[in-house]
């Protein structure tokens, strides 16, 4: 909170205030343009299908109704799918963060012999991969097909995210670690006690990346699982959309579902999969979106 108080002390000049206003204006315009599509999706999802399809852009719902949400939550499979996605996201993100930080810490140590080579070994996996089938065969040989592990492990470490964490670690004042090492602390202790506590911003940012990746991931569920008990939300929603839109669904002539267009279901599906992310987001955001004081760094 040092940050805020510092600003308050200083009287700002007129050009500075004008400049600020311009910046805020530009940002607000951009923010409006990026908010609109989601707003459109949300409004579409709570509009009557017949009204919605007359085209154009949405600012308010047309003939508002919650019938698509009602249809969506009518089957018990969606709760299974939601549950799967939630635990996959929680466990996957925690494991990913732990593994990334553990890997990033030694690689951030400039004097570590072989550091460049090891970095290269990790970086290489960002560009080159063996492809879907060989990866599938590995997962299969590990006996993970149709188990919860297959939803988590195959993508638990992203080299990209790991390098972002490493970069942050590198920028921390080296005096901190060194004094701890001189006191006889081992590297894991230094990571846990000294480095991680002051790395909240980057860990939160990475939790966001991993979390969203896990939440939205789709292909691993299609590939590595067969039974419906492990179905994730994204797969369920995709199935639902195509079952409503299927041209052959002539058996479909009745009830609430029949009054829904594929587009409305699609918009509803997007809404129910994005809203939880938006709810969780501010909790992570506060760690990096405002200037936190790294006073502890000075030790």
């Amino acid at each position: 909170m040092l940050f805020v108080s510092r600003r308050k002390r200083i009287q700002r000049s007129v050009p500075e205030r004008v400049g600020n206003a311009v910046i805020v204006l530009i940002l607000l315009l951009f923010a409006f343009s990026t908010t609109y599509p989601f707003w459109h999706v949300l409004m579409y999802s709570i509009s009557d299908s017949g009204q919605a399809m007359s085209g154009g852009l949405f600012f308010l719902p047309r003939d508002p109704t919650l019938v698509s949400y009602d249809v969506l939550f009518r089957t018990k499979q969606i709760f299974i799918a939601y549950g799967n996605t939630i635990w996959k996201t929680l466990i996957g993100t925690v494991l990913s963060l732990a593994l990334s930080a553990l890997t990033a810490f030694p690689l951030a140590h400039r004097k570590l012999p072989g550091r460049n080579l090891l970095s290269m070994v990790f970086f290489f996996t960002m560009l080159f991969s063996g492809g879907m089938i060989p990866t599938y065969l590995v997962v299969q040989q590990l006996g993970m097909i149709d188990t919860p592990w297959a939803l988590i492990l195959p993508n638990v470490l992203s080299a990209y995210n790991m390098f972002i964490i490493r970069n942050y670690f590198q920028q921390l004042p080296s005096s901190l670690e060194e004094s701890a090492f001189i006191d006889g602390a081992t590297p894991p202790v230094v990571l846990w006690r000294i480095v991680l506590p002051i790395s909240a911003p980057i860990l939160a940012a990475n939790a966001m990346f991993y979390g969203v990746g896990n939440w939205n991931s789709y292909l691993d569920c299609i590939l590595y699982t067969n039974s419906n008990t492990l179905q994730t939300l994204q797969v369920y929603l995709r199935n639902l959309i195509s079952s409503v839109g299927s041209m052959d669904s002539i058996a479909g002539v009745g009830g609430a579902t029949a009054s829904l267009s594929e587009e409305t279901i699609k918009m509803t599906a997007i809404s129910v999969s994005v809203i939880p992310v938006l709810v969780a987001y501010p909790f992570l955001q506060r760690y990096y979106a405002s200037g936190i004081t790294v006073g502890a760094v000075k030790g």
Partner: protein, 494 residues
């Protein structure tokens, strides 16, 4: 926190293992991969249990949404863990058979496949996949695909005092009136004659058909060459007609960029007067205002079908031939092929067909007049979401020729299909795999589609541009395709 998470994970893993142990005892188990329309049914739903009871096996279903089936199947092929029962096309089936990955079905058919043999027994030996080594591997559905109709708003015709169009000129006049004469009488210029979209083939078939061109299919030239419809002698003529529709604003100008769903929405929201699609969709449950008002008892109040005859006397949409190149196959790794054949056989029976299409009788639906194909859904199963969650429609494979879908259609739709079959545009239906087509078929197709879109909108010299596209098509592998297709078709006819 961490502890709880670990416990949670452990618990979930144990739970996932339970079913494997619990059901391993008596009943034979089979796995069945279903693609096509997405399915959202609950595990072990009512319909699936009924199927299991009928065939005396436990059926484990792998459901894959359209668009993902290749990804899934590729992985399963590579790992040699194919599902027991799935659908394959000829090119795949040939490879499977060569690698010994499919199970010959002859003996199981004679033991458990009476219904199959009764309905498609004659077709089986005609299928190329079943001619490879003398064994039967592939079982096709008995019914052919639906024909594409040109659906016309007869309520609009009536309002404007017009007749059902029969040739290209009267069609043009109707489209013009539908666009500019306010057919819906709302005082606004918000309608368009015909909506076409390049995102789908359905819309185009009848227009090309009027020039005798089998849209999106091969065609045979006078000298016997089998080639793409792109090189049909009347192709350019058809393009000129479409150009006129485009320039005069009687077709939707965004035909090249319009997503398929938006095109449907134009029909549903009552903005479009003529729409090329299967009447099965349009008149059976796709009325304009489908989402805003109750469907009328008699759809002929709203829709009729136009048969447009062109300058050379041609008329209709592309012919649908009985499927010979795709069907159900059984993996050689299958432990209970007899149970699988019982399952296929069951899908061919009237009982199995009704069950998979309409659900469990007297629980999910009830016949009002079985002969006339009239039924009603019961209780909460009136709603599609509930119906599907309990397995309704999910496992329907459209196997018998006289199937539940056909029987329950309304009269207008049945009539539309019957009429359309009288005017089919024949084309050389090649049943063998053509290498040039697997090699660059989609690239060639892309050139043709690019050409079609470009030629309709171009402001330049249409003929010169057409020639250029043809040359490009030929050089990109089109000539090879021509040679191969011509030879293959000649051999097939002989």
């Amino acid at each position: 926190m961490k502890k709880t998470l670990c416990m949670l994970l452990a618990l979930l893993m144990t739970l996932s293992l339970v079913p494997t142990f619990a059901t391993a005892d008596e009943l034979p188990e089979i796995t069945w991969m279903i693609t096509g329309s997405g399915t959202t049914s609950d595990e072990n739903n009512m319909v699936l249990q009924k199927i299991g009871e009928a065939i005396g096996a436990k059926v484990n279903v792998i459901q894959v949404a359209p668009g993902d089936e290749d990804v899934k199947l590729n992985a399963l092929i590579a790992a040699n863990t194919l599902p027991d029962l799935f659908v394959a096309d000829l090119a795949d089936a040939q490879q499977f058979i060569n690698e010994g990955m499919l199970c010959p079905l002859d003996e199981f058919l004679s033991d458990n496949g009476s219904e199959i043999l009764a309905q498609v027994g004659e077709k089986l030996p005609k299928m190329p996949a079943n001619q490879m080594d003398g064994s039967i591997y592939m079982i096709p559905g008995a019914s052919a695909d639906f024909m594409e109709n040109l659906n016309v708003r007869v309520d609009w015709l009536k309002k404007l005092g017009l007749e059902m169009p029969t040739d290209l000129d009267s069609l043009y006049n109707v489209l013009h009136a539908f666009t500019y004469d306010d057919p819906d009488g709302n005082g606004q210029n918000d309608t368009v004659g015909i909506v076409l979209t390049m995102a789908q083939t359905n819309q185009w078939e009848n227009l090309f058909g009027a020039f005798g061109i089998p849209y999106n299919k091969p065609c045979q030239l006078e000298d016997g060459t089998v080639t793409s419809y792109f090189k049909h002698p009347h192709f350019l003529e058809c393009i000129q007609y479409l150009r006129k529709l485009y320039q005069d604003g009687v077709m939707d100008p965004d035909f090249a960029t319009m997503p398929a769903m938006t095109a449907h929405e134009k029909l549903w929201s009552g903005a479009c007067g003529v729409y090329g699609f299967r009447d099965v969709g349009v008149t059976n449950n796709w009325y304009p205002g489908r989402y805003t008002f109750e469907c009328p008892e008699d759809p002929s109040e709203i829709f009729g079908f136009a048969q447009i005859t062109g300058p050379y006397g041609d008329c209709g949409s592309v012919a649908q031939y009985p499927k010979l190149t795709t069907g159900m196959v059984v993996a050689s790794t299958c432990k209970n092929p007899d149970a699988v054949v019982r399952l296929i056989n069951y899908l061919f029976t009237e009982e199995g067909d009704n069950l998979t299409y309409l659900g469990v009788e007297d629980v999910m639906y009830r016949w009002i007049d079985k002969e006339a194909g009239k039924y009603e859904r019961l209780n909460e199963y009136v709603d599609d979401a509930v119906h599907r969650a309990n397995g309704g429609f999910t496992y329907w494979m459209n196997m018998p020729e006289d199937n539940a879908q056909l029987r329950t259609m309304n009269a207008l739709t049945q009539q539309g299909q019957a009429e359309q079959q009288l005017h089919a545009i024949d084309y050389p239906y090649i049943t063998s795999t053509i290498e040039a087509e697997t090699e660059y078929g989609t690239l060639l197709d892309q050139i043709v589609k690019e050409a079609t879109a470009q030629l309709i909108v171009t402001k330049g010299d249409v003929e010169a541009e057409y020639k250029e596209f043809v040359t490009r098509w030929e050089n990109e592998g089109g000539l090879e395709y021509e040679a191969e297709a011509t030879a293959a078709y000649a051999a097939q006819v002989k």
